[in-house]
Each structure stands twice: as structure tokens, then as C-alpha cells.
Assembly symmetry: C2
Homo-oligomer: 436 residues x 2
């Protein structure tokens, strides 16, 4: 944004808050005074560039540590990491399974599938990988057993359907899969559960099976990628942004000159950033899942992080729910644990809005909300979570939230002017490297 | 799609259902036999072209009838149609209101706002326009009255905030608006309600006030438009599609060689159509709001319909909820009635999945679901709605649904193969002009 335009913006913001009552004027004038603390953009950009290159070299180190823990490289590894596989690999894994079953039948022994347990007792959190993985406990699913005959049949059917989907080179939803044989599956919970079994049996992510979730995320900013062969330039996606594709394996050719990824909890803040073309002032990629993150957005973020090796800065509400959302991005959710290696982006920085920001930016008392009993309960539970405990700064912030019993939304910053977020708050945060 | 590719698809679909149990094979082979009924695409396209040109001339006639009812052309009109206005017009309307208040104050009479009532008793459905509009009943909101002083203040504040937003040329959400003066507004319901008042007072849509809703719709297909100046080619948006922009006034330069607009209820069907690039075989624009339509998607659909004059064909579940969704697109929802003229697209054709399709396409019994008591209640209520009663075909279909007490999702068609929807069902529907 030009200096002239910024000044015009500043005066308009002043005008917008000119009818503020005296009660709020002290906070508003303090908020305005922070604008003068801003160094020229070039100086902030220099900071961000060094951050981006540091993140890139750190990622390389992290990759190495992941390779050290690759269970396929270590036959004694006691856990299963479900990984992305290409179509050829998944197809040949299915072929091997089916051939083994056929041989077993021909030799008169019937057939049985070995299904890794997805029970929580078979899950473990690996601190050095910062991920939940599955242990190697398996159960047999023989066809020649009254208790398991049905489930073995369903498993065989799902394997055959996934094979057909892969061979056609298309993608389907769980619901589509269910409808191909309603009589056999009975209800969708059954085909869904067996699909998860199949995913673990094959050691492939669900997206490798071409069974996809619906999308709700959007992205704008300094990013170019191909969605099913179409080149998408996310600096030219207007205010609406580009819908994040449901099938991550059709995403290719990721390129970017961004210095960081800005992960935004909510649609409204995303719109503000997109409309103000924040990414042109501070080269970045802005994405949001509009609340609770869906699988497609988590896969997309991870892919960006892995390929571009950029730092990820998070802008969420200052409440326990904001942290919960970060935990889903960072650690995955329990019921997708076996897939966690492919869905999680462990190293996310908490940029804001943090509990300490409320006083630091003098957010007016009337824009803060009292925490409910449920909020406080969730907050206390979060204090016990590994992803919080590992980061002293996060513990302190969360303790402060629970002590003050106050929460605030990102939009509370609108009390200083609609564009305070993009013109003062975020630039100052970036300048001061104020993330933890 | 090439003939070769289509044949390959057909044989793969056959393979996918080759393990079908005998119980379903009759339905499946009938379903496959429908494929042979398909005429060459060129012939179907000729049908669609004549439909599109008919729709275009019909739209011109409809426009004329709308002009006949333009209340600004008719000073005796007894209702208010809230309309889209450009920034200059909204700003000058605010200026006029505020100047009138100032003059009133200077003359010693204090000030008062005249606020049109949004009560349901002040709403009326106009059959010839097929829209809900507001009658002219207004209430006075004087500042010098204990009962209304607060609300008059809030109204003045909202007017000033909207003015600031328009002057900056930005867009904000209702939540942003609320946070600019939490102490005054108290809770968001109050600022939201007054925003609706202001919208009626000014005779402008909420989107003209630059207060926007969050977006959840996506679009792909034969459409080019500019989102905030960025040229978007929706044939090159991959499978994910383009997120529909929250601020319709930033949409411009709409161009299309489509023959129709395909309105899809659900994300999963949208994904199937996008991945199969259905719009390349049958030039169309495909859009979905992923369930209950949001304001941004409704505005976008209406804009497409008005500018391109294309027929709109709807693909929804065969259940009362599918029809409810059509009613929101066609007639608006009661609480946005004053804005209905700008949000509704009255002339939508019900393509499918219709209750009569279930037998016509021999959808297997196990893919149909029994209607719940609540479904039946909603279905009976729909029979009383004007938008249903006007269309004899719709009444018959709905009566059949209530008689058979069966419903089905779009995805029930997956029982004949994952791509049956795009390869047989929809082409045959288009060929037979099977919409009502």
C-alpha cells in the first residue's frame, strides 16, 4: 500500500472513531499512538526474511529427525505411521492383500484380514515427533467366523470399491462409497469405520484412497499452485479467495515468494486481510478453515509448510476455543490419529490475539467478554495437554486467561477502527516478532 | 469428453459394479440400459441452446413487468422495495437524513427517525412479482423520548459507521460493526436489528451498506468475472472451484457462454461435477452453497440470472429439505423479506432428484430412506406454500413424496456407479428436458 493511501486510511480511521465517547477515547488514542511505533515496511520485511530463512533451515533439520524415525527404515519400530501413497502404490498394496487372500482360499485355509487396532489404548503420542501414532496391535478378521464374517465381507467390498475409484482416477466422498452397496453396509457408520480400517491396513492416508472430505477452507495471497492442472494465482483471487481443493493429490506445482503463512481462525478476519490485500504489503499466504479445521484445509496447510518451509503464524480468538483450533492443526484429533502424520503441522506460532494482548493493546473492557464456566473448564483441560505444556509462553498466556477470566475475539480490534487489524496490530506484531 | 474416454468410463463403471449381488443386478442393468437412450451430445446441446434463448427472451418480458411495478416510478405504490444502490447514492441518502435531523435540531424540534416496520403484518407477498415486500407502515423514533432515546442514538451511530465504511471503500461484517461501540450497542442483536432498520430507512440492501455476510458458496464452469478487479476464469479453477465473494458489489465483468446454470444442493455432487468437468461437455455454470443458502451465494446467483438471463436448473435431494432450500433461493426467508427483491431468483426449475425419479431410474429400495415424522410435517407445510402451489408439477411430486413416504439423496445415484450422475442421469435429464 502506498504511503499516501496509508495516511488516507489513518485519517479515515480517526474520523470513524471521532464520535467515540470520552470513556473510550483514552484507549482509542493509545491505540492510535501505536501506529507511530511502526517502522518502515522495508525494515519489517527484513526481519521477516531472516525469519523465513531460519524456518527453512530448521525444517530441514526436522525432516532429518523424521527420517530417523521412519518405521519402514527400522523393522523393529513398534508403531504405524500412515503415509500418503501414490495411486500405483495403493493399487499394488490392494493387489497384494487380495492375492494373499486368494492364495489362502486356494490352499483351503479360507481368508482373514489383519486389521490394526484404532483403540485409544493402541495410540501413543511421540514427543520427539510431536504426533499421535498407532502401535502395532492387530486383530484378525477371518471370513470363516460368525463374529467376523460380515465385517470381512465389508472389508473386501471396500477394498474393491477403492480399487475401482483409483483405477478410474476419480475422487469420491464417504457418502458415495456408502451408497454403492447400502444393503451390505447397512449404515454409513459401518462403511466409514471399515474405510478407516482399510486405510490402516494399507498404511495409506484416506486421501491416498481418493476418498475425500468436503472442503470449507479458502486461501489468498502470495501462492501459485495447480488445482487439477489449472494454474491458480492466489494474488488474483479477489476478496473471495480460492476454495481449497478437497483432493490434495490434485494439487501440484506449489510456488510462493511469501515470507510466512498466516493461519486465520475466522472468515471475517480473512475477508479484512483479503480486501486490504495485506499480502501485498507483507508477502504471505493467508488461509482459513472458517472455524473448526476440516481435513482438506489441514492437508493443504501441511503441504504448504512441507514444500515451502515457511513459518506459520496463527491469528485466533483469545479464548480456549482458539487454542483448541490450533491443537487440531498441530496435533490432530483423536479419531484421525492414525492419519496424524499427514494432517498435522506441529510448528505453529501463536501470533495473537493472546490474553496478554488485551492489556498490551488496551482493548476496551466492554470489548472483552467474561469466560463461561465451560470456557474455564476447557481452558483448564488445555493446560494439561502436551502441546501446551511444551511451550512455556503458551502456559503463561493460558494461565493469564484463566486468572483474568476474560476472553476476546479478533474482531474486538475493530473498536479502534475497522482496519486497525491490518494497518497497526499485525504490522506491529510482525515488526516486534511478537509470537510464541 | 471424447467418445473413447466415455466408453472407457462406461466399462470401468461396469467393472465397479461387477461384484453386485443378484438382488441389485436388475436395477443396475436397467440403469446401464438408460445409457443407450442418450443421443449424441450435439443433439442435447441443440436442445439446450433453444432453451437458453427462450429463457433470455422470457427474462426480458419479466424485466418489463418488474419495471411496471417499480415503486419509484409510481408515487402511489404502497410498498417498499429495498434495492441495490451504489456508494454515492447511499452516502447522499445518509447525508440527506442527517441534514434533515440537523435542521430539525437547529429549529428547536429535536430529531426523529422514521423507521419502516419490519413486522410480519407489514410484509406482503406479491404474486405477480413472486416476492415478499414491505408495506409503508413506519414508526417514529424520536430522540426526545425516554422510550426511544437509546434506539435513536444507536441508529445515528450506525448511520455514521456505515458512512465511514462507505467513504473508506471497504466492507465489514455485522460483528465488526458491533465491536466498534460495544458499550453503546450492548449486544450484537441490537446493532444487527438497527442495521436492518437503516437498510429499510435508506431503501438500500445490506450489501449496498457494505456490511457483508460470510461466504460459503463455490462456483465452477463456463463463467468469467472480476472479483475486486481480478479476472477469474471459472473453467480454470480445478476441482475446488472459486469461493463466491462476500461482497457482490466488487463483482463485475460477468461473461459466459453457458447454456444454463446448475444449482447444486451439496458439496459432494458439486465435487463430482467439477472433477468430471461436466461444464465442458454441457456448457454450464455450476454453483453450490453447501446446504442452506447464504446471502452471498443468493446474491451471486441472482446477479448471474439477471445479467446472463440463463435458465436455472436445480439438483437437490429428494426430500422436503431440498425443496426448502429451493424456496430460500426463490422466495427468500422471512427475516430478510425487505431485501427479498435483491436476494431472490424466482424462476428456478426443479431438475432432480424428484420423487418420481426414484421409480423412473429404479433407485434400489435400500438406497431410499423412510421419511421421519418431522419430514412429513415439513412436506405438508410446503404443500401450503405459494411457491409450490403455483406449480402443478411440484404439487404432484410433493404429493407423491408424502404418499410413498420415501426420500433419497442425490448420492443414491452412486449405487449405479460413482459417475452415473454426470454420465447418464444429468445428460438424460437435459436431453429429455425433464425439469418442472
Amino acid at each position: 500500500m502506498s504511503e499516501k493511501k496509508r495516511r488516507a486510511g489513518a485519517s479515515a480511521a480517526g474520523a470513524a472513531s471521532s464520535s467515540k465517547k470520552p470513556r473510550a477515547s483514552a484507549a482509542a488514542s493509545y491505540a492510535e499512538s501505536l501506529r507511530s511505533k511502526l517502522r518502515p515496511d522495508a525494515s519489517i520485511l527484513a526481519t521477516l526474511r531472516s525469519l523465513a530463512s531460519a524456518s527453512s533451515s530448521k525444517s530441514k533439520a526436522a525432516e532429518k529427525s523424521l527420517a530417523d524415525h521412519d518405521p519402514s527404515a527400522d523393522p523393529t519400530a513398534s508403531y504405524i505411521v500412515v503415509a500418503d501413497q501414490d495411486t500405483t502404490s495403493v493399487t499394488s498394496r490392494i493387489n497384494r492383500l487380495v492375492l494373499a487372500a486368494a492364495r489362502s482360499i486356494l490352499s483351503g485355509r479360507g481368508f482373514s484380514f489383519a486389521v490394526p487396532s484404532r483403540a485409544s489404548s493402541n495410540q501413543v503420542y511421540l514427543p520427539d515427533l510431536d504426533r499421535i501414532v498407532l502401535l502395532r496391535r492387530e486383530s484378525a478378521r477371518p471370513f470363516a467366523n460368525v463374529a467376523t464374517a460380515r465385517k470381512a465381507t465389508v472389508t473386501a467390498r471396500v477394498l474393491s470399491l477403492v480399487h475401482a475409484v483409483l483405477r478410474r482416477g476419480i475422487h469420491v466422498t464417504k457418502r458415495d462409497l456408502f451408497y454403492t452397496d447400502v444393503k451390505l453396509f447397512g449404515d454409513q457408520a459401518q462403511s466409514d469405520a471399515v474405510l478407516d480400517d482399510v486405510s490402516c491396513m494399507l498404511g495409506c492416508t484416506r486421501s491416498s484412497l481418493h476418498v475425500v472430505a468436503s472442503e470449507k477452507g479458502v486461501v489468498v495471497g502470495r501462492l501459485v499452485f495447480a488445482d487439477d492442472g489449472d494454474r491458480i494465482d492466489c494474488t488474483r483471487m479477489g476478496v473471495g479467495g480460492k476454495a481449497i481443493p478437497p483432493n490434495i493429490d490434485r494439487v501440484s506445482g506449489i510456488e510462493s515468494d511469501a515470507l510466512f503463512i498466516l493461519l486465520v481462525e475466522k472468515d471475517a478476519a480473512f475477508m479484512r486481510l483479503a480486501e486490504d490485500r495485506f499480502y501485498n504489503r507483507f508477502p504471505c499466504i493467508i488461509l482459513t478453515a472458517k472455524g473448526q479445521p476440516d481435513v482438506a484445509t489441514r492437508l493443504f496447510l501441511r503441504r504448504l509448510k512441507v514444500e515451502l518451509k515457511l513459518p506459520v503464524l496463527a491469528l485466533v480468538d483469545s479464548d480456549p476455543y482458539g487454542l483448541k483450533i490450533l491443537s487440531v492443526y498441530m496435533c490432530g484429533s483423536k479419531n484421525m490419529s492414525y492419519d496424524s502424520a499427514n494432517l498435522t503441522t506441529p510448528d505453529i506460532k501463536w501470533l495473537g490475539v493472546r490474553p496478554s494482548d488485551l492489556d498490551k493493546y488496551r482493548v476496551p473492557q466492554q470489548c472483552r467478554l467474561p469466560m463461561t464456566d465451560h470456557d474455564i473448564k476447557v481452558g483448564k483441560e488445555l493446560l494439561e495437554e502436551d502441546f501446551v505444556k511444551q511451550n512455556e509462553g503458551w502456559v503463561k498466556e493460558l494461565e493469564m486467561m484463566l486468572r483474568t477470566k476474560q476472553k476476546a475475539e479478533i474482531q474486538a480490534l475493530s473498536s479502534f477502527g475497522f482496519q486497525y487489524l491490518t494497518e497497526v496490530y499485525l504490522p506491529l506484531k510482525l515488526q516486534q516478532q511478537d509470537w510464541i
